[in-house]
C-alpha cells in the first residue's frame, strides 16, 4: 500500500496534475453551485476536455469536478435553499436557517470543514479497504460479474424514492435497451440501427449523459423562469471563522458521520443522499434538547450531512475501482470515462494500472485540501455566480452541452438525437421518472450482456451455473433481498400504520 501511495503521490503532485485537481475543484464548484446542476452534469460537461488528457490526469480532473460539485451544491443549499444535488438536501435543513439568521459565513465554513474531514477519513478508509476488496474480487469470474452488475441495478431500483420503484426499474430497462443499439460485438449483427451508419457503433454515452442531465437541467431551468432568482447575502471573509467551542461540538459528529457515510457510499445505489439523511437523522435522535433545535440552524445538523455526503462520494469509488461496478449515476459516468480511455476498472485496475488507481485516491485528498484552503476564502466571490440571470445561464449550459458532444464526434446526427432524448427526458422527469438508473443501465448494459454471454457459453447455456459458486449464491441472495426490500418496506409500514 505504501508503494502505491508513493506512486500516487508522485503522479498527483506533478505541477500539471495539481493544476488539474485545482481546476476540477474550481469548475466543479462553480457548476455545482448552480441550482439543478449536479456532479453528473458537471462531469458530463468536462468529459470532452478530459479526452485530450492522459488517463491519470483526466481522471484526476473529473474526480476534482465531482468533489467540487458536491461542495458547490452545499453552497447553493445554504445560501438560497436550492440544493444543487440531492445529496445536499439535508444540508439545507440547518444551513439555510443559519444563513437567514445572518450566519451564512459560519454555515459555509462548517460545511467546508465537515466536507474536508469527512472526505479525509473516507480517503483513509478507501486506501485500506480498496486493495483488500480488489484482492478478494480477483476470485470473481463472469458469473460473479454478471450477478454483481444485476445487484447494482437492483439496488439502484430498491433505493429509489418511495413509490418510484417501478419507475426506476423502467428507466434501468430503457438504459439497457439503449445499450443494445449498434453492432453486436459477438455476432457482428447490427441491432436497432434502422440502416443508419451513424448508429452502427452504438449510442455515445457522452451524448446520453449530456441529454439526460446537463441539457435537461438547462431546459427545465427555462420552465422555472426568472421568478426563482434569489438575492445572495453578502458574506464578509471574517465571518468564515469558527470558535473552538463550536469546533469541539462538531468534531465527533463529523467523525461518526464520515464512517457511516463511507460505509453507505460503498453500497451500490445508496449514495450521498441516503448517507446524509441517515447521518442527519442519527444526530437528531442522539441530541438531547439541542439549542438551537434541529431545522433551525443547528451546527451539528449541518456538519453531519456534509461530512456524510462527502464520505459517501469517496465510498462510491470503492465498487467502481475494485469491481468495475458503478454504484451511482456519477460513478457510472466516471466508469464511462475510464472505458473511453481504454481502461477496464475492476480488480485488475489496482494491479495493471496502479498509477491511475493511486493517483485518483491521492487526488481526492488533495482535492479536499484545495476546496478547504483555496475555495473557501473565495466563496464570497463565487457566490455572485448565483446572481447570473437565468436568461443567460440556460442558453450557455445548452450551448456547452451541445458543443461538448459536437466536438467529440463532429456529427450533427448526434446533436439531433441528443435534443430528441433531452425532450423525452424532460417529459419523463416532469412525471417524476429518475434519470440516474437510465444512465447506469446504459453503461452496465454492454458489460452485463458480455458477462452473461460468457457465463452461458462456459456453462453450455445452463443458467444454474450462476448458482454453483459460493460468491454467486451470496450475490443471488442479495439480489433477491434488494428486489423484495421495497415490498417488505411497504408491508412493515402498513402493519405499523394499522397498529397506530
Amino acid at each position: 500500500m505504501i508503494d502505491g501511495l508513493l506512486l500516487g503521490l508522485s503522479t498527483a503532485l506533478t505541477f500539471s496534475n495539481l493544476l488539474f485537481v485545482a481546476a476540477g475543484c474550481l469548475i466543479g464548484m462553480l457548476i455545482g453551485m448552480l441550482p439543478g446542476l449536479g456532479p453528473i452534469s458537471a462531469i458530463a460537461l468536462m468529459i470532452p476536455i478530459s479526452y485530450n488528457l492522459e488517463p491519470a490526469s483526466g481522471m484526476i480532473l473529473l474526480a476534482g469536478v465531482y468533489y467540487g460539485a458536491i461542495f458547490g451544491g452545499s453552497t447553493s443549499a445554504i445560501l438560497i435553499n436550492a440544493p444543487g444535488v440531492a445529496g445536499t438536501v439535508a444540508t439545507a435543513f440547518d444551513g439555510y436557517p443559519m444563513a437567514r439568521n445572518g450566519h451564512a459565513g459560519k454555515a459555509l465554513a462548517v460545511a467546508a470543514y465537515a466536507s474536508f474531514f469527512g472526505g479525509t477519513i473516507a480517503v483513509l478508509l478507501l486506501m485500506i479497504s480498496a486493495p483488500a476488496l480488489a484482492d478478494l474480487s480477483l476470485a470473481f469470474q463472469s458469473p460473479e460479474y454478471t450477478l454483481m452488475m444485476l445487484l447494482g441495478l437492483s439496488l439502484v431500483a430498491s433505493f429509489s424514492e418511495p413509490g418510484q420503484y417501478l419507475k426506476a426499474v423502467m428507466m434501468t430497462a430503457i438504459g439497457l435497451c439503449l445499450s443494445t443499439v449498434g453492432t453486436d460485438l459477438a455476432s457482428g449483427i447490427p441491432r436497432f440501427t434502422f440502416g443508419r451508419m451513424d448508429l452502427i457503433d452504438g449510442l455515445s454515452f457522452l451524448m446520453i449523459a449530456m441529454a439526460t442531465f446537463a441539457l435537461t437541467e438547462a431546459l427545465m431551468m427555462l420552465r422555472a423562469g426568472q421568478a426563482t432568482q434569489t438575492v445572495i447575502p453578502i458574506i464578509p471573509s471574517q465571518a468564515l471563522r469558527l470558535e473552538s467551542r463550536e469546533i469541539r461540538s462538531i468534531a465527533p459528529v463529523i467523525s461518526r458521520s464520515a464512517v457511516s457515510g463511507f460505509l453507505i457510499g460503498v453500497l451500490p445505489g445508496a449514495g450521498a443522499t441516503i448517507a446524509s439523511f441517515i447521518a442527519y437523522g442519527f444526530e437528531k435522535i442522539m441530541a438531547k434538547a439541542p439549542i438551537p433545535p434541529f431545522g433551525k440552524g443547528n451546527l451539528k445538523g449541518l456538519a453531519a450531512p456534509e461530512s456524510a455526503n462527502n464520505a459517501a462520494c469517496t465510498g462510491s469509488f470503492v465498487p467502481l475501482l475494485t469491481l468495475g461496478i458503478p454504484g451511482s449515476g456519477t460513478t457510472a459516468i466516471l466508469l464511462g470515462a475510464l472505458l473511453a480511455y481504454g481502461i477496464q476498472p475492476g480488480p485488475r485496475l489496482y494491479l495493471d494500472e496502479p498509477t491511475v488507481f493511486w493517483s485518483i485516491v491521492v487526488s481526492m485528498y488533495i482535492g479536499n485540501l484545495i476546496l478547504l484552503f483555496l475555495n473557501l476564502p473565495m466563496i464570497p466571490i463565487f457566490a455572485k455566480l448565483l446572481n447570473i440571470p437565468r436568461a443567460i445561464l440556460a442558453p450557455l449550459i445548452i450551448f456547452f452541452s451541445l458543443t461538448g458532444v459536437y466536438l467529440v464526434s463532429f456529427n450533427l446526427f448526434d446533436l439531433y438525437l441528443m435534443v430528441t432524448f433531452a425532450l423525452i427526458a424532460v417529459w419523463l422527469r416532469s412525471r417524476t421518472f429518475p434519470m440516474a438508473p437510465l444512465l447506469l443501465g446504459f453503461i452496465l448494459g454492454d458489460m452485463l450482456e458480455d458477462n452473461l454471454r460468457r457465463s452461458l457459453i462456459i456453462s453450455d447455456g445452463n443458467l444454474s451455473y450462476l448458482l454453483d459458486r459460493p460468491i454467486s449464491l451470496l450475490l443471488v441472495t442479495l439480489i433477491v433481498l434488494a428486489l423484495t426490500a421495497p415490498l417488505a418496506r411497504k408491508v412493515i409500514r402498513g402493519s405499523l400504520n394499522a397498529r397506530s
Partner: protein
C-alpha cells in the same frame, strides 16, 4: 373499488415503447452458425425489453387500481405552444441545422443571442459581449489545440470565389 380508472400516460407510452422494442428485437437476424438455445444477438434485448415491459405493465395496473386521491397526476392543462422548452427546442433544431451552413462560430453567436432573448429580457449591453465572446473564445482555444472547425458552406463558397 375505485370509481374511475386512472391512466398513467407515461407508463402507457413506455409500455408502447417496450412493445415496439420487443417487436424490433424479434426482427434481429439470427447468426447462421448459432444453434437452438444459444445466446444470440436478440437474447439480451429480449431480457431488457421484457424487464421494461413488465415494469410498465405493473405500473399501469397499480396506478389504475389506486384511488384518485392516492394517485395524483400532474395536470394535463399545460399549453404546449406556451411551453418555453418547446420554443427553445425549435431554436436548437434551427441552430444545429445552421452549423453546417453558417459555420460553428456564427451559428453559435446567433443561438446564444436568440436563446437568451427568448428566455428573458436581457439588456443588449450584457447580452452581446457574452453571446459574441463565448463562441469566439472557444474557437480561439480550439484553434490553439489544432482542432479544426469548419467555417460553414456560405463562408467557404465566398472565400473560394474571392
Amino acid at each position: 373499488m375505485p370509481s374511475v380508472i386512472r391512466i398513467n400516460y407515461a407508463a402507457l407510452a413506455l409500455l408502447l415503447f417496450f412493445t415496439g422494442y420487443l417487436y424490433l428485437a424479434a426482427q434481429i437476424p439470427i447468426d447462421p452458425w448459432s444453434l437452438p438455445g444459444d445466446f444470440t444477438a436478440s437474447a439480451f434485448p429480449y431480457f431488457a425489453g421484457g424487464l421494461g415491459f413488465t415494469a410498465a405493465l405493473l405500473q399501469l395496473l397499480t396506478d389504475a387500481r389506486r384511488p384518485t386521491e392516492q394517485n395524483p397526476q400532474p395536470p394535463f392543462k399545460h399549453r404546449l405552444y406556451k411551453d418555453p422548452i418547446l420554443g427553445m427546442i425549435v431554436v436548437l433544431i434551427i441552430y444545429i441545422s445552421l452549423i453546417d451552413v453558417l459555420g460553428f462560430v456564427i451559428a453559435s453567436i446567433a443561438f446564444l443571442t436568440i436563446g437568451a432573448r427568448k428566455t428573458g429580457a436581457v439588456a443588449w449591453r450584457i447580452l452581446l459581449p457574452f453571446a459574441v465572446g463565448v463562441p469566439l473564445i472557444l474557437w480561439g482555444l480550439l484553434d490553439l489545440m489544432n482542432i479544426y472547425i469548419s467555417p460553414g458552406r456560405i463562408l467557404t463558397t465566398w472565400l473560394h470565389r474571392t
